[in-house]
Symmetry: D2
Subunit: 387 residues, 4 copies
C-alpha cells in the first residue's frame, strides 16, 4: 500500500459541530474542564485543519432566549469567520434538550405549552438555517422519551412527533426554503428510552408524515452501536430507502454510555465498513463529525482529536479503495457469490410454477462453503495495511 | 387486590409453538436432554392446560425433504389431535435456518439456488397454512445476515428480501388465500448481524413492498431486549403503524444470548407494560408464547414452564386492569399531564403565526415537575400486588 | 399476603447520600433543573420520611478547596440538623472526580502531583469521617481508568491504587480510627474503562493490600448490571469472602448509561433477590440508597422518589420473608435439591479412591429434572403478591 | 513499516483446541454442517499451518463413558499424529457441560451424585493430562450457574466449587503431577448467569482455596467482552496477581451471544492491546486459540479461519513492537506522563505529614492536558499500518 499524506482538504467535505470542539467537558460527575471556545476561533482553527464547514445548534452560538439583537451580535462574528475562511454551514440543528423547560422533551413533552414553545424555537431556527444557506436541518429528540411506562403514551407521542414534523415541513414549503429535515435516532440517554430509537424506527416513522420526501435520517455511529446494531448495515438500509440525508461520525465501544469518541476510535472494523458504504453507497453529503474530545484533553488535545477524525476517515477511504481494487478480493468475492445476490431469485419471465418444478438436491448444495472467512481476512489485512 | 384463579381458558386465546414445549435442549455446548415430543401429545397437553391453539414450522411436524405421503403421515395425527381438542392453528411458519443448506440464509442467501429452494419451501408451507386455516404466516429470517462486512451487500440483500415477500404476497393473492405475513425481527444470533434487526427496520422495509397491506410484524420480547430496546414501546409503534399482526411472548435479561425464558421471567416490569399495551392498544390476535423451557427441566418442568407463561399473562392482565381503574393512578396521570399529550400542539384553525406570537416564560414553565416518579411508584405497587 | 404499612422507621436503617436528593440534574446534555438543596433541609426531610442516616462526599457539604473555617461554617448546620433529628452518618466518601484537576483520576492519575493531592484530600476526609463517627469510608474511583490503550499502564496503575489504600489504611491504624474502607466497583462511565470494574476485580485487588482486613466492598446495583452481571450473585460472593461492608441500592435497565433509578425501578426481579440476600446473607450494615431522582421531577418528585426507595425495600423484604416461609416453596426447594448443595461432595473421611470406585449411571441420572421452573414461578408469584 | 511474511512457526507457540477446527456447527437453531474431523487429521493440518500444539477436552477425543480400551483406541492415533508432527499438548480440559447429566452443572450441581461424577470425570482427565505431559488443566464451568434466583444458593455453590478445586489440587500434589489449574470465567451462556463470571471473580475465588498457588486463570477474549469489559485490562490485572496461566484468544462484538470469531475479527483495537500485553506483560504460555469457524464455512474455510488466527497474531505482534519502538510514541508517552505513574506517590522516606504539608494549586494543575488523544492516534495509525 502506498502511503499518502492524510491531510484534509476542502474537497473532502469534512464538517464539525461547533459543540464538538467546543465541548467544555461537563458531565454527570464533573464540571467544565475547558474554557468556552469562541465560535469564530473554532471556525478558523477548523479551517486551518482542512475542514469544509461547520454546523451548530442555535444555542451553540447565542444564548437561550436571546432577542434578535443579541442573536445578531453573536452571529456577526461567526458570519465574518465563515467569510474569512470560506467555510460553509451545510447543517443547522435546534437545542430542545438543555434548558430545564425541556425536562420531558420538546415536540412530545406532555406539557402542551412546552411543545408549543419547542415548535416556536425550531421555527426560528429553520428561518436561521434558510438564511445561512443550510440544506439540512437535523432533529435529535434527545429528551423525547421516558424512564417509566405510564409517563408517556407512546402512540400519542408519535402523533405529536408527526404533527411537529408536519408543521415544520409545511412551513419550509410555504416559505420556499430549500431545506430538508434529518432525524437522528438514539436508543437511550439522557432518557431511559427515547422515541425513534434506531435508524429503522425513524425510517418507518417518516412514512407516516405528510411530506415524507422532506424528511430523512442523520444516523450516528455511537447511537446505533449503543443498541448493538451494525452501523454500516444501518447506513445501507437508509440508503436503500433513499433516506440517508446526513451522517454523524464518531466512535463507541458497544452498549454503554454515549462515548462520542473521535471517528476511528472505538469499533475500528466498523469504521472501515462505515467509510466503505459512505464512499460506495451513493451518499453525497458532507462527512460530519459529532464527537466529544475526552475530558482528559486540553485545547491542544481537542485539535489533535479533531484532526484525528479527518485523518482516520482519509486513511480508511484509501483502504476501502484499495480493498475494492484488489484482484484477490475480487476473486474472493466471486467465490463467496457476493455478486450472485444481485441476480433476481426468479428469472425474468419465469413463473412460480416453473420455480417450483425445478429439481434440487439440498444435501449436495449444503456442502458448498461460502468462503467468507477468506474474504474477511483480506478485508482485515487491508485494515491492517499489510496488503 | 382480589385474587383470582389464574387458570387459562380458550377465551384467553393462548397459543404455543410446537417447538417450544418440544425443544429437546440442543445448544452450542450440549446435546439433547429431553426426548422428542409427539406433536399430538403436545396438543393434548396444551389443551389440558387451557391453551387455545398451536403454531408450528413445517419441520416441527414432518422431516425436512418429506414427500407428500410422509408429510400427510405426520399431519394426520396432528389434525386428529386438533379435532379432538378443538385447538386451532392461527399461525404457521417455515424453517429456513436449521438445515445446512441454509448456512447463509434462505431468501437472501448469496447462493441463488438456495434462494430458489427457500422460496419453494416457503410456498409449500403457505399452501399448508392456507389449508390448515392459519391466518398469519410468520417469517423469521434467522440466518439472513452476516458475520463480516464484505460477505453480504446489504442493499442487494434487501432487494432479494423484498423480492421474496413480493412473490409470496402475490401468490397468496393469486390463490385467494386469507393469509397475511408477519416478519419477526432479531438483531443477532445465530448470525453476527441479522437483516431487519428491530421492529423499526422491519416496519420501514414493509413500506417498500408491492403489497405492504399483506405484511406486518411479529415482534418478540427477547429479540428487542437483546438490542436494549423497550419492547412495549416497540409494540406501541407497531400498533401506531397498524402493523402488529402477531406477537411472540417470552423473557430475556438484556443484551446477551437469546434466552427464550418463559413469559414473566426476565424483565418483570417490561412484562407488565407488554401486557398493558397488548390489552389496551387494539391488538386482537392470539397471545403466542415462543419460549424454551430451560435445559434443567424434565417434561414435568416443561409443562410447569408452559403453564407459567399463561398464568403470568393472566396475573399481569389483572394488574393492568386494576392499575388503569385505580383513581389514584388516574389522578397521578392527570398531574403528569399524560392526557394533555393527546391535545394537538397547534389548535384547530390556529396558524403558525398565531403560535409564534404567543408569549411564554420558559423559566417559569421549567419549574413544573412532571410527577412521573409518583406515577411510576403506583405502577410498581400494582405489579407488587400491594395496592 | 397480608398487606402492611410500608412506612420506614429508624429500625429499618435506611440511609441516603446527600448527593442523591440533592442532585440538581446536570448531565452531559443539560443544565441544572432543580435548585441547590441545603444539607440541613435534606436531613430534616429524610428524617421525616423515616430514614436512619445520611452519607456525603466532602464537597456535598463544603466547597472544593474550602479552608477550615469555611468547612466548619458548612458543617455546623449539618451537625445541628443531625442532632435535631437523631440521624447518623454511617459512611463518608471523598469526591476525587468532579474538579478538573481529576481529569485523569485521583489515586491513579498519571500526574504524580495530582495523586499526591488526591491522597491529601482523602486523608482530610478520613479525619472528618472519624470525627463524625462514620464507620465506613467509601472509595469510588470513578475517574480512575482510560479511554485508550496506551494512556494507562494498568499494572502500574494497580500499584499506585494499592499504594493509596495502604497509605490510608496505615493512617487509620496510626490514628486509632474505627473506620474501614469500601471500594465501589464500576465498569465504565465516566471513563471508557474503569479500574476494578466489578465486584470480583475489587475483591481480588484487596487481597494484595497490606491491610486487607480494613478494606471491603460497596457494590452498587446499577454498576454491576451495566456489565450484565447478576447483582445478587455478586453480593453473595462478596459475603462469601466476608467483604460486604456496605451496599448502594438503586435501579438500572441493563448495559447502558448509569441510570441511578430509585431502588425497585429497573430490574424488579433483581431487586427481590437483592433484598433476599441482604436480609438472609448476614449483611448487617445500613441499607443505603444511591440514586438520582430523574430530571423530570421537581422537589416533590425528589421526595416521592426517595420515599419510593424505602417503600420498595420494605415491600420486598416482606415478600422475601413470605417466600422463605411458604411451605410450597420449601417443598419446591427440596425437589430442586437446593439443600443438597450444602452436603460436601466428598463425605467426611471418604477418600478420592472411594469416590472413584462408586458406580454411577449417568444416563439414568440425566433424566432427573431439576424442578427450577416450578420454584421460580413460586418466587415470581410472591413478587406479584398473588400468593 | 516493513512487511513480513506472517507465516506461523513452532517458535510462535500457537495452539488450538481440537474442538475449534472440529466444531461441526451445531447450534440452538441448526444441525451439524460439517463432517466430524478426525483428531489425527486435525493435528497434521494444524502442524502444516505452523501450529505448536493442540489441546482438547476428554470427549473431543473419545466418547463420553468410554472404557479404558476404547479411550486408548482413540488416543493411539492421536499420539501417533503428535509423534509424527512433533506437536505438543500443553493443556487439557474436561467436558462437564455437554452430556444431559450436567444439566445443572458439574462441580456445583445441586445433585450430589452428579457432583461426585464430575469430580471422577475430572480426576480421570487429570491423570490423562499428566500422562500426556500437559502443564495446564483448564476448568470452564459453563453449566455452573442458574437462570433463576432460588435455584442456586450462590455461597453454598462457591463452597462446593472450592471443594472441587481443593480435591483436584491435593490430588495432583499427592500424585506429584506437574500440573496447574486455570479457571476460565464467563458471565452467561449457556446458563442465565454463570458462577465466577469475570476474571476478577475468579481471581478472588482462588484466594480462598487451599492451594491457591496451583490455580490461576484462562481468560477468554469473548467472555470478558460479553460483559463489556476490557480484555487487555483484565489480562493486565491477572498478570499483576501472577495468575495468567493460559489465555483463550478469539473475537467477539460486544454483549451478545458467544461468537467465538477467529482472533482479530470482532474488536480489532482490543486485539492490538491484547497482543501488546501478552507480548510485554510477562506471559510465557502458549498463544491458544479458542474460536469457532462460522457455520458458513466448509473445511477449506475452517483452515483459512485457523490460519487467520495465527496471521493476525503475528501481524499485531509486529505492530506492537513497532509501536513501542517508535520515537514519536515514546515522546507522546512522556507527554502523557505514562512513565510518571511508575513513581510512587509517596516518596521514599517521606511521611504523610510531609505530603500533607505540600502546597498545591489545583486550578493551575487542572489546566494540564493529558495528551491521550495524540498518543491514541499514534497507536491507531500503527494498527492501520500507516506509520
Amino acid at each position: 500500500m502506498q502511503m499518502q499524506d492524510y491531510t484534509a482538504t476542502r474537497e473532502d467535505r469534512f464538517t464539525f459541530g461547533l459543540w464538538t470542539v467546543g465541548w467544555q467537558g461537563v458531565d454527570v460527575f464533573g464540571s467544565a474542564i475547558r474554557p468556552p471556545l469562541d465560535p469564530a476561533e473554532a471556525i478558523h482553527r477548523l479551517s486551518d485543519l482542512g475542514a469544509y464547514g461547520i454546523t451548530f445548534h442555535d444555542n451553540d452560538v447565542f444564548p437561550f432566549g436571546a432577542d434578535a439583537a443579541t442573536k445578531e451580535a453573536h452571529l456577526a462574528p461567526l458570519r465574518k469567520a465563515l467569510d474569512a475562511t470560506g467555510l460553509t454551514v451545510p447543517m443547522i440543528t435546534t437545542n430542545l434538550f438543555s434548558h430545564p423547560v425541556f425536562r420531558d422533551g420538546g415536540f412530545t413533552n406532555n406539557d402542551r405549552d412546552v411543545r408549543r414553545f419547542a415548535v416556536r424555537k425550531a421555527l426560528d431556527n429553520v428561518d436561521l438555517a434558510a438564511e445561512m444557506g443550510a440544506k439540512i436541518f437535523v432533529a435529535w429528540g434527545g429528551r423525547e422519551g421516558a424512564e417509566s411506562g405510564a409517563a408517556k403514551d407512546i402512540r400519542t407521542a408519535l402523533d405529536r412527533y408527526a404533527e411537529a414534523f408536519n408543521l415544520l415541513a409545511q412551513y419550509t414549503i410555504d416559505r420556499g426554503y430549500d431545506l430538508r429535515f434529518a432525524i437522528e435516532p438514539k436508543p437511550n440517554e439522557p432518557r431511559g428510552d427515547i422515541l425513534l430509537p434506531t435508524i429503522g424506527h425513524a425510517l418507518a416513522f417518516i412514512n407516516e408524515l405528510e411530506h415524507p420526501e422532506l424528511v430523512g435520517l442523520n444516523p450516528e455511529v455511537g447511537h446505533e452501536e449503543m443498541a448493538s446494531l451494525n452501523y454500516a448495515h444501518g447506513l445501507a438500509q437508509a440508503l436503500w430507502h433513499g433516506k440517508l440525508f446526513h451522517a454523524d461520525l464518531n466512535g463507541q465501544t458497544g452498549p454503554r454510555y454515549d462515548q462520542d469518541l473521535r471517528f476511528g476510535a472505538g469499533n475500528a472494523r466498523g469504521a472501515f465498513w462505515t467509510v466503505d458504504i459512505l464512499e460506495n453507497g451513493g451518499y453525497d453529503g458532507p462527512r460530519h463529525f459529532d464527537f466529544k474530545p475526552p475530558r482528559t484533553e486540553d485545547m491542544d488535545g481537542v485539535w489533535a482529536s479533531a484532526e484525528g477524525c479527518m485523518r482516520n476517515y482519509l486513511i480508511l477511504r484509501e483502504k476501502s479503495r484499495a480493498f475494492r481494487a484488489d484482484p484477490d478480493v475480487q476473486e474472493a468475492m466471486r467465490l463467496a457469490r457476493v455478486d450472485e445476490l444481485g441476480v433476481p431469485t426468479l428469472a425474468d419471465g419465469e413463473s412460480l410454477a416453473d420455480l417450483r418444478a425445478e429439481p434440487f438436491d439440498p444435501d449436495a448444495a449444503a456442502e458448498r462453503g461460502m468462503g467468507f472467512e477468506r474474504l474477511d481476512q483480506l478485508a482485515l489485512e487491508h485494515l491492517y495495511g499489510v496488503r
